[in-house]
């Protein structure tokens, strides 16, 4: 009996440890290690590279160059075009997605027969990987084979087939529409969850008080969805700024630089020109812009106060 008490019991030791304050750190350790390895280290390394020359095509140039890449960026016209395009692309896409998402969520919230099937169908675009969605739309909008051109010509909107991604004016708009199609279910899903949490009584009270649909949207729906909208917008903006894949497939940044955005520019600089130093500098600038955006947006929408 006494011998068994002195034996090493791993589970008992663990149990005793779980009563101490070190337990919390122990539980956090695995995810902390993972974050350090997979996120913190690459991020910091990327930042370090932005101050170095690192061209795989010219290995001899390796070395610290200070702010050279940032200075080059300042006078790089493509950077400014990409920055402008990023702002236009992300803003337009998010606004469209938010509007479409709100519309969809409101419709689905009605609980009419058949809405369950619609809820699943409407989510389909979001389930498609960017790459698949991109190729699908590239085909749909193809200047010679595209179904969209065919339909528009038959309906009489267009005289002849249009090369959507070849026209600098149409290209950015077309990619925005494709992105809106792909991304709106994300908003629909989150906003639907938000709508479900608004008490029905509020709308009844508004009806008795004489508030119409527009007033109900302004006074009840939007304020009650504020937190959800803010979170969804931040998540979507971050994901859009950082994902070059859709544009890479649809336009590759062209024609010219008409659809060039920062993420795509950084990707091409790194993996086509193998200029990792400059690509890293571009990424750091994106990182800073996103940080500023997120902080400003959270402040503006005051979601942390409630």
């Amino acid at each position: 009996m006494t011998s068994s008490a002195s034996r090493y019991l791993p589970f008992r030791a663990l149990g005793e440890l779980s009563e101490t304050r070190y337990w919390m750190y122990l539980l956090l350790l695995p995810s902390l290690v993972l974050i350090l390895l997979v996120i913190a280290y690459p991020t910091l390394y990327g930042m370090a590279i932005s101050f170095r020359e690192m061209r795989l095509t010219r290995p001899g140039l390796d070395g610290w160059v200070g702010f050279k890449h940032y200075a080059a960026m300042w006078s790089d016209p493509v950077f400014w075009i990409a920055l402008k395009n990023t702002v236009v692309w992300v803003t337009a896409a998010v606004v469209l997605e938010l509007a479409l998402g709100l519309l969809t969520a409101t419709a689905l919230n009605r609980d009419l027969p058949g809405t369950k099937i619609f809820a699943v169908l409407i989510l389909l675009p979001y389930f498609l990987p960017n790459v698949v969605a991109g190729h699908m739309w590239a085909l749909l909008l193809d200047p010679r084979l595209g179904v969209i051109n065919d339909i528009l010509v038959r309906v009489g909107v267009l005289q002849t087939y249009k090369a959507w991604f070849a026209d600098p004016n149409a290209a950015l708009a077309a990619t925005i529409l494709v992105e809106a199609w792909h991304g709106f279910p994300f908003f629909a899903l989150l906003l639907l969850a938000g709508l479900k949490s608004i008490p029905e009584d509020l709308y009844k009270a508004a009806a008795v008080d004489g508030a119409g649909v527009a007033a109900q949207l302004r006074l009840i729906t939007l304020p009650m969805l504020k937190t959800v909208i803010a979170a969804a917008v931040i998540l979507r903006v971050i994901s859009l700024v950082n994902s070059p894949d859709l544009l890479l497939i649809l336009t590759g940044g062209g024609p010219g630089d008409a659809t060039q955005v920062l993420s795509l520019y950084a990707f091409q600089t790194a993996y086509k020109e193998f200029n990792f130093g400059y690509a890293s500098a571009l990424s750091v600038v994106m990182f800073v812009i996103l940080m500023i955006f997120a902080v400003a947006y959270i402040r503006m929408s005051r979601i942390t106060k409630e």
Partner: protein, 359 residues
């Protein structure tokens, strides 16, 4: 102030009938309580009066004017909701004045009306706050302020006290009664709480399964329930039911069951037929008596003193009945107990239809 007439109002969702031809008349300045378990149709009926739900048939008149084709805002009603339904982004003052604001009442007049309502409800000091910064009781008062500021013809209350804790509920109940007496506006009030129904209503409609079981003043509902459902739904502890038989010898009608034998009051004993019945006795009508006066004899099962009174559960034959006796009751478990009942206070029900029988 107005009368309310509900005439053969029906409601169906597809093939599911949730209200079957409801008829109610409420006098000017009356207080109608719609009482029933959840799913009985009481909230649907209230929503139909408000115009938040369509009627599938019948007519609703407020102050003699048919309102079934009017939007909620045009019915001259005000409503207080269970969840209070205060607009979270607006101050208390704007919440209260919002109905007036939507109706184009000018700012000065609105401000005065809001201040008057706030004073009446003792929430003047809260006018600048947001609903999120109020306690449950305060929100309840704001919700009531929003209703009274409009000075409507009819107030509609949808379980307004269910979200409050027990103590506050009693306070607000008194407050609502005081408001009603002060303003004199007709009220329709939905609740599943029989105490609220008894204390507030001038008229109570007990509902179940989409039918009105009984529509009467609270006293009648309590003393002369129309059927066994109403009898058991109202009163706590619930009415005791004892199945037995009516027997007649000479000009005397008696109720007989195992452990029970008592004379009945009949308006015309000669015409009473012998038959099985259910005897309903309120717990407070069972009084401890001497053995030779007893009409109910049983064994004490449980004695529960509550302070002001004591509940005694008595085994009578196969049945268990509850008697509400004075606090210093000295009986013990497994002792015999002898009880009398005033025959005026009893109710008889048909065991098959569960409807009340008058003899």
């Amino acid at each position: 102030m107005a009368t309310l007439s509900i005439k053969d109002v029906r409601k169906a969702y597809g093939s599911v009938q949730v209200l079957h031809g409801v008829d109610i008349e409420l006098e000017d300045g009356g207080f109608l309580v719609l009482l029933g378990p959840s799913g009985c149709g009481k909230s649907t009926l209230l929503n139909m009066i408000a115009g938040l739900d369509d009627t599938s048939g019948g007519d609703i008149l407020i102050g003699g004017r048919s309102v079934v084709d009017l939007a909620p805002k045009d019915r001259n009603i005000a409503m207080v909701f269970q969840s209070y339904a205060l607009y979270p982004t607006m101050s208390v003052a704007r919440n209260i004045g919002f109905g007036l604001e939507r109706r184009g009442v000018d700012a000065d007049k609105r401000k005065r009306a809001v201040e008057d309502a706030a004073r009446l409800l003792q929430i003047s000091h809260l006018l600048d706050r947001r609903p999120a910064n109020l306690s449950g009781g305060q929100r309840q008062r704001v919700a009531m302020g929003r209703a009274i500021v409009r000075d409507p013809e009819l107030f509609l209350f949808d379980e307004p006290l269910s979200n409050l804790d027990a103590k506050l509920r009693v306070e607000m109940r008194t407050e609502i009664k005081r408001l009603h007496e002060r303003l004199g506006t007709s009220i329709v009030y939905v609740t599943h709480d029989q105490i609220e129904a008894m204390t507030l209503g001038t008229k109570v409609a007990v509902m179940k399964g989409g039918y009105i079981q009984q529509l009467a003043d609270p006293r009648t509902i309590y003393e002369r329930p129309a059927n066994m459902f109403v009898a058991s739904f109202i009163g706590s502890p619930a009415m005791n039911f004892l199945p037995g038989r009516l027997v007649r010898n000479a000009d005397c009608v008696r109720f007989e069951a195992s452990g029970v034998s008592m004379a009945m009051l009949a308006s015309n004993p000669a015409e009473v037929s012998e038959r099985p019945v259910v005897l309903g006795i309120r717990p407070e009508e069972l009084k401890v008596a001497a053995r030779d006066q007893a009409s109910v004899t049983g064994m004490i099962d449980v004695v529960e003193p509550t302070g002001p009174e004591t509940m005694v559960t008595v085994q009578v034959g196969e049945r268990s009945v509850t008697a509400r006796v004075p606090p210093r009751f000295a009986g013990q478990r497994n002792e015999a107990i002898f009880l009398t009942v005033d025959p005026v206070s009893i109710n008889l029900f048909d065991p098959d239809t569960e409807q009340r029988i008058d003899i």
